[in-house]
């Protein structure tokens, strides 16, 4: 039974990739920052000895929690200007979008910034 379930799961995932969620994160930044704060709090509450081995080591990458108020101060409508350009089939390269992109990149820390600057996805690690 468990073998069958695992095989089904394998085939279902064959055409799709694990979702990193970067674009969602930046389009719904306020919500993302709130979720991140809550997740950090949950993690801090869990005792260390109940976490997998990898959690004991260098965990790098985070976002500046003050990013959203600062971003709002830029007075740019994220949903209007920072979006996918369906006609060109690439992410918008408008001046506003480039400005938002540059700003958001500066809010990221560590490998999170690395992934964002370098592509925003995850499997490319060792």
């Amino acid at each position: 039974m468990s073998t069958t379930a695992a095989t089904d799961d394998f085939f279902d995932r064959e055409l799709i990739q694990e979702e990193f969620g970067m674009s969602r994160s930046f389009l719904q930044l306020e919500e993302e920052l709130k979720d991140t704060r809550q997740a950090e709090e949950r993690k801090a509450k869990a005792p260390d000895d109940s976490k997998p081995f990898g959690y004991a080591f260098e965990l790098d990458g985070t976002i500046d929690m003050d990013a959203y108020p600062q971003l709002k101060a830029l007075d740019i409508d994220l949903t209007e200007h920072h979006h996918y350009d369906a006609e060109a089939q690439v992410w918008s390269s408008s001046d506003e979008s480039t400005r938002i992109y540059s700003y958001l990149t500066s809010c990221l820390r560590g490998t999170c910034a690395y992934w964002w600057q370098l592509d925003g996805v995850v499997d490319d690690v060792r």
Partner: protein, 329 residues
């Protein structure tokens, strides 16, 4: 020869794909960029058998109406498509059914196309497993670091002693630790000269990869596109000038320069790519101070936008555009 029609399967935010799509646009190559999350909610897919073959049409209304005759596609770039999305008005169980059916319909129809794939999803899924990569690498004659994969703390202690404490730990999969709802954080490759006794038992919770720590001089990032190899030397240093354990550590400095692989190393890497049937791969290799090359891994969907930015004259995006449009093998 038919005019190229390139289907790019990826999410909307994908810098690497953007660079290649922009080049294809400049060249007037027909590109249809599509994310599987549009299906079935915002798209229809119809495939009909006829006396002369199949007639398959994908119509998408996510951003206005557009359509694609799949039999006209000449290549598919399987980048970063995200999960299928069912009609939200359905019950969760019914949504799950719709999503599974979508995977089988689209997966079956797309992968039946007689086109150039970068890479075929089934091929990529298999190649993604690090333990398999290391096994195949050895079989094709590549040197790999001594490796232990386990969730048994006693085995880790034994391996640590065998290597004189010179070992590293890394994750088997992405190295990404994402608290639900929270911002993802990366797990860097970590040297373990000592393993705290209170931490060691936690190996039991999850399998880990441990490898001997190579006395690294520098790293190589080797991007393979079809038959072409693009090798870049990565010098990543700490503030003290020593090579970093993990070159992605943002605390150090990184320098990227194009280089040429030793002939024998390239031949063996070619065998590895062929063994996995990969058309594309981003390979990480460490070179020690004696000049020995150690294979670390191949990323079947690895990134390259950053490498183009960092390495003048590399032009991986252009090379990928060439390959997808049939200008190179």
């Amino acid at each position: 020869m038919r005019d190229p029609v390139v289907l790019v399967l990826t999410q909307e935010f994908d810098v690497t794909a953007d660079n290649v799509v922009a080049i294809l646009n400049e060249r007037d190559v027909t590109v249809f960029r599509y994310d599987t999350s549009y299906f079935p909610r915002n798209s229809t897919l119809t495939s009909k058998s006829t006396d002369t073959g199949w007639l398959t049409t994908l119509v998408d209304t996510t951003h206005g109406r557009r359509s694609l005759r799949l039999e006209e596609v000449t290549s598919v770039w399987y980048r970063r498509p995200t999960p299928f999305t069912a009609d939200p008005s359905l019950e969760p169980a019914h949504q799950e059914f719709a999503v599974k059916e979508s995977a089988h319909a689209m997966g079956g129809i797309f992968t039946a196309l007689p086109v150039r794939w970068v890479n075929l999803p089934a091929v990529e899924s298999r190649a993604h497993y690090k333990p398999l990569q290391l096994k195949v690498a050895r079989e094709v004659g590549l040197r790999i670091p001594k490796t232990l994969i386990t969730n048994d703390p006693e085995e880790v202690s034994r391996f640590h002693r065998e290597c004189g404490g010179a070992i590293i730990y890394k994750a088997l999969n992405s190295g990404l630790i994402h608290q639900p709802g929270g911002w993802p954080r990366g797990l860097l490759t970590t040297a373990l000269p000592d393993i705290p006794p209170d931490v060691l038992p936690r190996v039991r919770y999850s399998p880990c990869v441990f490898q001997e720590l190579i006395d690294k001089a520098y790293e190589l990032r080797i991007t393979v596109i079809g038959e072409k190899f693009f090798a870049v030397r990565v010098d990543s240093r700490t503030d003290d000038g020593e090579p970093q354990i993990d070159s992605r550590n943002p605390l150090g400095t990184q320098r990227y320069t194009r280089t040429v692989l030793p002939v024998e190393v390239e031949k063996r890497l070619r065998r590895l790519m062929d063994a996995f049937e990969l058309a594309y791969g981003a390979i990480d290799v460490v070179v020690d101070r004696a000049g020995e090359h150690y294979f670390l891994e191949v990323n079947p969907a690895g990134q390259f936008a950053w490498l183009d930015d960092q390495t003048p004259g590399l032009s991986l995006a252009s090379a990928m555009a060439d390959y997808l449009s049939g200008l190179s093998d």
